[in-house]
Symmetry: C3
Subunit: 317 residues, 3 copies
């Protein structure tokens, strides 16, 4: 789509040359045929170094753009991004495409659904009620239990087990709010990549990325009813117990252990081999190889000490 | 059904005239052909002013009923209500009815199910494994992802998006407990109404009302794995993050923001534009336009102060 | 399978006589044709008294085995158990078997799936998208809502109601970790037994036992989005509110009440008639007939007192 068309559709001023735009992306990741946005002054450095074809930005920031990067000028770049994102969204369900390719020795139950353009490896079992969207790839020996939903464009590795009712690739939770308080959907045009040897419990929800991929790395095992937000990167061999929740864009290192009902805020990092006890609430980036508890989070031994102090206060009163 | 028949079935004394009863309802909402109940002395005022056709009540409260309101006398009105509620429950799945009416340009995937008497608007997409019960209405342009379940009699607006695995209209959690500790189901004969422009994430559970409707108003956006209890009213343009839970009969004002894993008790109100931080636990009615945290809930700045006090206690020890 | 074959497959030393092994089981429950393991020195007493046919154990513990119990010697008994468990896992979906037996007056919706060797009682309703695995038993008058998944070998009683999206019999969360940090799946070869008159809300996850059964007893009512871990025993007439989570092998007594988002650790007991308030976090075995709150858990009146102390600290500061 031409940048000039987008400008016209949304009544935006176009600064710089017109060009073909094929997708949206972040300032850091965008290429020359992609459109990005500056939502917040703290990303100004990323703006100055972006390789995007064009950027949606407020007037005052246009001057910081690299020479060959065009601008769409708006007072509300995030709201405009949201509105534009719909133009680049794929249809939830293709009306046509290639019949799926199914490998050798697969067991596809009656009542399973596989969309167009999907590729299923060898020895895969897909049970009844599982719905595999369009353009999904599933590796060898993977087992998909009943009523699992895998949204379009997602990639599942080999030797994975996905338990019943789990949803992979649902839209990340992203909205831009207008001045009068309405929330405009930011279409989530990325996907989810699940690497090999991953097991995911029942009724989990793993959201697709807004751009790029939400990734669950090799050997990680999730329990039931877990939420993984959009654009998270979950390291190798992570263990995560039931009802834990990871907010968007958080990165978890390898062999991290996360207890039941624990949760993290978004956009933070958890170091390799960290342990978060049950109910721990992570609100900041934390180092690896330590044990943490509580909300606000602290080192577990501090948390135990705090509970001792509170117990003494109680006794004394 | 005649009141006298109900009285006979459950061996209850009928005081006042016999009449036809068509449904159960609360003291405040019941009309002349509906049966209500007094569960608790604190609703005595509602009893005195009820327009119900009849009320199940203990002997001592019968004298407070308006003149033309009949009574079914019972020592255990709530248990009796539960037993009677079954008589008014609709069958979970109709054996017959009209074929559903499907609007123009709909995409109904193979493996989607639509019950009798349902009406689907124009440009609606219903993906595989989605189950739309009997007598459901869905507005134009709405998108229903795979393996969503919408129970009978629910109403979904236009331009809504319901993500995979979400359940709309499951029974509210209501039981009356007998003296020997058994829990008798109160059949949930209401429905759920989702207004226009609502998006609901994956694997949520929105319960139907016991009487009347659970309502999610226009423009509200829910993340994944959220529970909304029966008879809740969620205002316009509310945002609710993953794994939040709202207990029955709670009313949430417009543009309220509720963080991840936050929760509320039942039967309370949250004022317009209130913000509940992640993990906040609301146990009382709260004013709007303020930011709250913690459990027990307090204003967020108080909560920060409390964390400072605890940190100092820890340091000093 | 012969013990000698297992020994050869995994390069383990076999001490004692060879014998046919038909299943894995715990030291306490194993019979003469079952293989068990010693994971931890604290179970040494169980080892000394086991009736298992053979036990996987470290060299130093072999001498404590009863005379007729054979040993498979390993430095990493738990990892070896995990690897062996795969040999005894049943196929997730049988390729053949007897057509299911369906009782009188059942309503089986179009799009419901029932596996081989299953037996469905009279007057059962199974709605569209529900998937009943192989060799499942369902009692009379039970109602299975859409998109429920019941894994193979599970048993559901009479007069039960299972709401949409709920998963019964998914694998318990059990892994043995190798020295280099990879998690080896312990195949969960047990099942789930749901007794009569149980109601389970929407999008719950009830895991199957590793050996034996996860049990939910008569008359218990679960709300939505609840997790029950493997090998739990939930007593009669228990009430459990939304988003509660019970970790593996915990036993809950009769008529216990568990509030919303409350949780328990694994391997503990909750006494009859105990009440756990919303968000309570149970980390130790607790007596019945008391009310508890908080995390760490304490008696509710203590918790109220503690909140008073904290409120005064806040005020004074």
């Amino acid at each position: 789509m031409l940048l000039s068309q987008i400008a016209e559709n949304f009544s935006l001023e176009l600064v710089g040359e017109d060009k073909e735009i094929r997708a949206l992306n972040s300032l850091q990741e965008a290429k020359g045929d992609e459109l990005s946005f500056l939502q917040n002054r703290k990303y100004l450095n990323a703006l100055k170094n972006t390789k995007a074809g064009a950027v949606i930005a407020q007037q005052e920031f246009v001057k910081y753009l690299p020479e060959d990067v065009s601008a769409l000028v708006s007072d509300e770049p995030y709201v405009v991004l949201a509105r534009i994102s719909k133009l680049f969204a794929k249809e939830p369900m293709q009306k046509e495409g290639k019949k799926p390719v199914i490998g050798a020795n697969c067991q596809i139950a009656q009542g399973a659904y596989i969309g167009f353009d999907s590729v299923i490896g060898d020895n895969v079992t897909i049970m009844s009620g599982a719905v595999i969207g369009d353009n999904v790839k599933i590796g060898d020996n993977t087992l998909i239990y009943p009523n699992v939903t895998i949204y379009r464009d997602c990639v599942i590795g080999s030797n994975c087990i996905i338990h019943a009712g789990t949803v992979i690739g649902s839209d990340g939770y992203g909205f831009a709010t207008t001045k009068d308080g309405r929330h405009i959907k930011i279409y989530q045009n990325g996907n989810v990549i699940i690497e090999d040897d991953v097991e995911i419990g029942a009724n989990c929800a793993i959201d697709r990325a807004v751009f790029g991929s939400t990734i669950i790395k090799k050997g990680t095992k999730l329990d039931n009813l877990i939420q993984i937000g959009h654009n998270c990167i979950i390291g190798e061999n992570v263990l995560m117990a039931g009802q834990a929740g990871i907010a968007g864009s958080t990165e978890i290192g390898r062999n991290v252990v996360i207890g039941g009902q624990a949760a993290t805020a978004g956009h933070l990092k958890i170091g390799d081999f960290a342990v978060i006890a049950a109910r721990g609430g992570v609100t900041k980036t934390i180092e690896g190889k330590k044990v943490y508890s509580g909300f606000p989070l602290m080192e577990h031994k501090q948390w135990l000490k705090l509970q001792g102090i509170l117990a003494r206060l109680l006794k004394r009163s």
